[in-house]
């Protein structure tokens, strides 16, 4: 591992994606849970107001992660978003419906109107979490992209080699390894956001909603742990074949890194490609598992803040295990390893990476500081009683 600009940016983009899943993750979870933990309309409004002041700022992590990927790894941004065209389109559509559902739901009294937006909140939250997991799983297992520069085309960059409808169906095709793996990671992600949503609801609300959240949390823990073990185990079996070894220079890797990978190749195949740093990998996986245990204890004892910390750590450890596992590959190609996007052939120029790094060093701590400050301000408990009181007080004002 090198500490060069590309590696720092790989870590920064991972942090931004993790920032998104940690912040928006709990409100996605609350969105999925909101019909289960809240029975009456006022309870539903409590769950939504539990994320009211923050979900919007949370979604900005997604936008910023997208922007940072565009700036630091333009080849990756261009190739990935055009390759996963329909999947990304569905995620965007779901995010749109989610945003407006929150905004529109309370604006009409009618039961039909509110039921419609409740459904919309559930499905959109579920689809976003599922498809983000599906995308991550597919990328880890490798997708059929090719580097057009290998064929002398200097315009198109990395392009997807399969055509619709197969391209999209294969993402969720359980009979193809990358589709199956995508689905498994997708389900694991959904279970994770539910856990994270449970943490938030216990932290932010009290009474019947927090109680129901706890009960769901106790049930969802075991399936999550099982799924995480399955995903990690299967990751060990992932290998990439090499089409033309003479073209591996297109990966643009530093010499020693290339040699290290070359030494692992067995008969034109790079086996257990995601476990090239076994010590770090195992340590992170164990830490993720321990955090999940800590989470279960905290939920059992109704300690919302602690539960939130542990679900955050669970994801961070698991997420960095994924990043380290893939490094230096960003999007491995299932056509041939030489067609893969790495952090060294997908990156921006040194100057851009430097300029952006300065911006990130200055602004990221500021953003984290004021977001934390705002969170702290809104971390008072709410309940059906407090909400009713607030509605009455405003009417008297």
């Amino acid at each position: 591992m090198h500490f060069d600009l590309q590696t720092i940016w790989a870590i920064l983009v991972t942090i931004l994606i993790a920032g998104y899943i940690i912040t928006d993750g709990f409100d996605l979870g609350v969105g999925i849970l909101h019909g289960l933990v809240a029975k009456t309309d006022i309870e539903k409004r409590v769950t939504l107001n539990a994320i009211g002041p923050v979900w919007d700022g949370n979604e900005v992590w997604f936008i910023t992660a997208g922007g940072a990927a565009f700036a630091a790894f333009p080849e990756l941004y261009a190739a990935l978003f055009s390759s996963l065209y329909i999947a990304l389109f569905i995620v965007l559509l779901a995010l749109i419906y989610r945003a407006v559902s929150f905004e529109f739901r309370s604006k009409e009294e009618s039961e039909g109107w509110r039921k419609f937006w409740d459904q919309s909140i559930f499905w959109s939250s579920l689809i976003v979490a599922l498809l983000i997991g599906v995308a991550i799983g597919n990328i880890l297992a490798g997708i059929p992209i090719k580097n057009s520069a290998i064929e002398g085309d200097l315009l198109h960059g990395f392009v997807y080699a399969e055509k619709f409808p197969m391209s999209f169906i294969n993402l969720v095709n359980p009979f193809k390894f990358h589709g199956l793996y995508g689905l498994l990671v997708g389900v694991t992600t959904v279970l994770f956001v539910i856990m994270h949503g449970v943490s938030w609801l216990i932290w932010k609300t009290e009474g019947s909603i927090a109680e129901r959240a706890r009960n769901i949390g106790m049930k969802v823990w075991l399936p999550f742990v099982i799924m995480y073990v399955i995903c990690t185990g299967l990751a060990y079996t992932i290998s990439f074949k090499i089409g033309d070894p003479s073209k591996l220079s297109y990966l643009n890797l530093p010499k020693d890194m290339m040699q290290q990978i070359a030494s692992m190749v067995q008969g034109n195949v790079l086996p257990h490609a995601l476990f090239r740093f076994p010590v770090i990998e195992l340590a992170l996986i164990v830490l993720a598992a321990l955090s999940a245990v800590g989470w279960l204890m905290a939920v059992k004892n109704m300690k919302g803040g602690k539960a939130f910390l542990f679900s955050t750590l669970t994801f961070l450890f698991a997420g960095f295990a994924v990043m380290f596992g893939a490094y230096p590959l960003a999007v491995p190609s299932s056509i041939g390893l030489e067609h893969s996007i790495t952090i060294y052939n997908g990156c921006s120029s040194e100057l851009t990476l430097t300029v952006m790094l300065v911006a990130a060093i200055i602004f990221t701590p500021i953003v984290i500081a004021y977001q934390a400050w705002v969170y702290k301000m809104f971390l008072f408990k709410i309940s059906t009683e407090s909400l009713k009181k607030e509605i009455e007080e405003a009417a008297e004002h």
Partner: protein
């Protein structure tokens, strides 16, 4: 035209069109709400509290859709324009990332505090949040326009061959940030947002004043809007002039189309109206303004200045870039630009008229009716402005770097729109185009319904809750 290209262009234009229903109101109304909140906290008067609450509620309904359409916009670069994205990403991606990091976080985080913080956070924090949210939304426009300005005038860049192909690379960061085209675009857009929001507040106020309800509340709101709007609309005339001057220098084909200028001329006239025959490369009808040399003066600051006509530009571009059509659709660009300019002058008159009637505004029925029915006009002006900028740039997606009224400095950086599209299939683009069209239309209708519901209800005592 290739089907994927055509639908991708339609989809991007449609997203921009919907996005720009919501964004200009966000830009201006956030500032107006912050002004009202400042008045409340400094004077202690309840009426300003109600005003800030009422207008920020309309703002919040509108904002959700601005975020939703903006999200689609950002990802559409990669989805539909992957060749463009990989070609320009080294430069174009940076302002987008900084926009998120520096501006958008600020805007949306503090907006949450402003909208949900009533009586829950200290007054100073609440006020600070309102202003930070407003500054954040305008900073966000700045970085987006630095990105857009670079597509029009790609300064600070060089063309290099990288592992995955040819691309533009950053050579001078500060040149990109202080790109004269980008910076004037920002002021032009931010001011347009202020005018639009002023007309919005004025029109809603006129609606209530015509019914003689909440008179004091809406008279005060209208007053703030009139002052704010007058300053912004006069500023816009000046900024518009500077902007047109920059376009003349850096995008001669766009200027030729904006003014239906076919022949190279010294002392060119401004046309009030024109209709061109694009194939024959001439105007069928043209009505000039009787001030000789005005166009040359506006574009070059010299009544006798020389401006290249579309015919010569076409020849010049063909020599440099090979056969092709280098003149954007003249009638479309001419009228989009001219109607926008005429509307710009109309807003100045509207605000002056309103201020002369202010003492007895609730009885100035004539003015109030005009103000109410003017509501769609600033929206139309904003759309037409974007259409001028983006259609006028065609056939280029990245305009070859040009300066001094037609000197092409860096031809290699030019990228044609037709080359820039992703290798997608017909069925993929048609699915997304139709779904986005239906979704955005439905949401715009729902948004319009809710806005008119809450706007016509007037100020109410209600908690800001989901």
């Amino acid at each position: 035209m290739d089907f994927v290209l055509l639908v991708s262009r339609l989809q991007f234009a449609m997203t921009a069109f919907f996005h720009f229903i919501f964004v200009p109101l966000t830009l201006g109304l956030s500032t107006l709400s912050a002004i009202m909140l400042t008045l409340h906290y400094t004077t202690g008067k309840e009426i300003y509290r109600d005003m800030a609450k009422f207008w920020s509620k309309l703002f919040a309904i509108n904002f959700a859709l601005g975020v939703a359409t903006g999200l689609v916009h950002e990802f559409e670069f990669g989805m539909n324009w992957s060749v463009y994205s990989r070609f320009v990403g080294d430069i174009f991606g940076a302002p987008l990332a900084i926009e998120g990091l520096l501006a958008f976080f600020m805007e949306s985080t503090f907006m949450g505090v402003f909208l949900f913080g009533w009586d829950k956070v200290p007054k100073m924090v609440h006020l600070l949040a309102a202003w930070l949210s407003s500054i954040g939304s305008n900073l966000s426009a700045l970085w987006i326009l630095i990105a857009n300005g670079w597509m029009q005038h790609p300064v600070g860049a060089k063309v290099e061959i990288f592992v995955a192909g040819k691309r533009a690379e950053l050579a001078d960061w500060w040149a990109v940030v202080f790109n004269p085209v980008a910076d004037v675009k920002f002021w032009h857009t931010a001011t347009a947002g202020m005018i639009l929001s002023a007309v919005f507040v004025l029109a809603v106020s006129a609606y209530h004043l015509l019914r003689k309800q909440h008179v004091e509340f809406f008279k005060k709101s209208a007053y703030i809007a009139l002052i704010f709007g007058l300053i912004a609309s006069i500023g816009e005339v000046i900024i518009g002039d500077i902007h047109a001057h920059e376009v003349a220098k850096t995008q001669p084909t766009k200027l030729a189309a904006m003014e239906a200028l076919w022949e190279t001329k010294q002392g060119a006239n401004v046309l009030i109206a024109a209709w061109a025959d694009q194939k024959a490369q001439k105007n069928i009808i043209e009505i000039p303004l009787p001030i000789p040399g005005l166009l040359s003066f506006l574009a070059t600051h010299d009544f006798n200045g020389k401006l290249l006509g579309a015919k010569d530009l076409q020849k010049m571009f063909e020599e440099k870039f090979g056969p092709g059509n280098y003149i954007p659709p003249v009638n479309f660009v001419f009228w989009a630009f001219h109607i926008m300019v005429y509307l710009g002058f109309f807003f100045v008159i509207l605000f002056i008229w309103g201020l002369t009637k202010y003492r007895n505004l609730e009885n100035a029925t004539g003015f109030l009716k005009v103000a109410l029915y003017s509501l769609p006009l600033p929206y139309i002006a904003c759309w037409l402005g974007w259409a001028t900028a983006e259609v006028g740039r065609q056939p280029w997606i990245v305009y070859p770097l040009t300066d001094d009224y037609g000197k092409i400095l860096l031809p290699d950086i030019g990228l044609k729109t037709a080359q820039a599209v992703s290798p997608l299939t017909n069925i993929e683009v048609i699915i997304t185009y139709i779904t986005f069209l239906v979704t955005f239309t439905g949401l715009a209708i729902a948004d319009f319904y809710l806005l008119s519901k809450f706007a016509s209800k007037g100020p109410e005592k209600e908690a800001e809750l989901y």
